[in-house]
Amino acid sequence: MSERSTPDARGWGVLAYPVAMLAVFFLGPFLIMLATSFYHRIPGGFYEPAFELDNWKRLGSDLFVDRAMFSIRVSLLAGIVGIVVAFPFTYFLTSMRRRWQVTLLVVVLSALSLSEVIIGFTWSVILGRAAGISNILVWLGLMDESEAYAPGFWAVLLGLVAIAFPYCVLAIYPSLSRLDREVTEAAQTLGASPWRTFWTVVVPVTRPTIVAGFLLVFVFTLGSYLISAILGRPEHWTLSVFISDQASFNANVPFAAAMALFLTVVSLVIVAIVLWFERRATARARGN
């Protein structure tokens, strides 16, 4: 549309419905949640309007700091592992014929759309004592007795990598598929080995994407819920499980609201950094 006009009555009419829906059912709940974080909790499951900072002060408690630090640590780790594996995979993927690209991406998208509960369940089977890896090893005669690897920290990390991996691929894919192959070919014509080309050309050129992709995946794993609930013990619970637990079983909605807002701020800061990176990358691409 070459000539865009300022909206007339019809234009505002078209906009009214979607904006109203988002305002009422997204901004509305968000503002009510903000208000609730200052409310007073009545033991027994209810809360009443008030203005007190107790819920926010509890964000400084050892229990919360401990949960938050654990969540951030395990999500960072999962993001790093995910990107480190996804990057070479996606690089190879973009060099394949179209048919193979489509097939592999259907596998990736199917994995992405699977419920965390199913991914958590499948890994709990694999890592479990009854029908998992250790049973295969016993069956092959490599082990004497089957062992359980879940629940535990490594099981949680593995599960988080499993749910994060498809997002890592999708975050890196556009930039790698646009990578001008003539540049890599030129590097190889000049005598660089494929390995050297990868490290000195491909990685530096796509560095902003790698960082942006990593941060997005970090936000995603930070919000994960079921993986740590299924594959971890309570000490491996992420912030989301803790928030949901406070809101439902402990019936402390105001404290849950304060924690959710804390998570919102952390996520927004990370998203802002991603946008800043992307803008810088576009500016650099235009400058060339």
Binding site: L15, F25, F26, P29, V108, I118
Partner: protein
């Protein structure tokens, strides 16, 4: 490098599909318990999925929520994507950000917000609460697909219609809308599949009265393993794979995921 490419690809595909294979094996085990190697072959657990009223009800409930919320999500995304692209609106970036934000933030935030919101309105534990919460959360997906299609559309087409005397409504109905249908379908499909699999929003909004399939699976896991869980998981995996395969066959999957058209053309010819 070619050998390395094969090794990396096989490892990754194994990592993504391995657990699914194990579950598929468990789902056809004749025995009630998890066994390896599996004992016998039986499709009983797949039958159980539909025979057991509790499982069947959860499946039906999840399908209703996914269909209704994906429809509602497209109905929110279409006018927003259309208006932001057709008119010069100063707040456009802000409005677009509003549409992207729910999905960008961790789902627990939308989940808790919706729970508190419905508590405040005293309209608790209804299926429509989940539908609306999912619709808003997943409306980002059709918003992105439809916005991309609006950007890719040849601006001369609606212009030509206007020159020939069609009013804005007719232009939209006869030119713009038909061109947007593929992107609406892909947006719908993505929202549908993700809604079908969503847990935490459904749980906090109405988990105790509206038991969706993921909630049912999680609850069953707590009370111990039944092979039905494995059968349901396999069914879900097949649904997701079918949707995205159709997506790849009827839409341009690679383009949608952000590949460069020129590069794709080269990949087509095979390097």
């Amino acid at each position: 490098m070619r050998a390395l490419r094969l090794v990396v690809t096989v490892i990754v595909v194994g990592f993504l599909l391995g657990p699914l294979l194990v579950v598929a094996v468990v789902s056809i085990n004749e025995n009630r318990y998890m066994d390896f190697p599996p004992q016998g072959f039986s499709l009983e657990w797949y039958g159980q999925m539909f025979a057991d009223p509790a499982w069947r009800a959860a499946i039906v409930r999840s399908l209703i929520i996914a269909t209704a919320s994906a429809t509602l999500a497209v109905s929110i995304a279409l006018p927003l994507a259309y208006a932001l692209r057709s008119y010069r609106i100063r707040l456009a970036p802000l409005l677009y950000a509003l549409g992207i934000l729910p999905f960008m933030l961790p789902p627990i935030i939308s989940a808790l917000g919706a729970q508190i919101f419905w508590n405040a309105t005293n309209h608790i534990g209804r299926i429509e609460n989940v539908i609306v919460a999912h619709a808003v959360f997943f409306s980002t997906l059709p918003l992105v697909t439809i916005s991309l299609a609006m950007e890719a559309m040849d601006p001369h087409l609606p212009e030509a219609a206007r020159t020939m005397g069609a009013d804005q409504r007719t232009t939209f109905r006869t030119i713009t809308l038909p061109l947007l249908i593929p992107s609406m379908v892909t947006g719908f499909a993505a929202a549908f599949v993700l809604s079908l699999n969503e847990y935490i929003i459904a749980f906090l909004v109405a988990g105790f009265s509206v038991e969706t399939l993921p909630i049912k699976i999680f609850n069953s896991l707590r009370y111990g393993f039944t092979p039905t869980i494995a059968a349901v998981s396999v069914a879900f995996i097949l649904i997701a794979a079918t949707v995205f395969t159709l997506f790849a066959v009827f839409g341009n999957l690679l383009r949608f995921l952000g590949a460069d058209p020129a590069v794709l053309e080269r990949a087509e010819r095979g390097r």
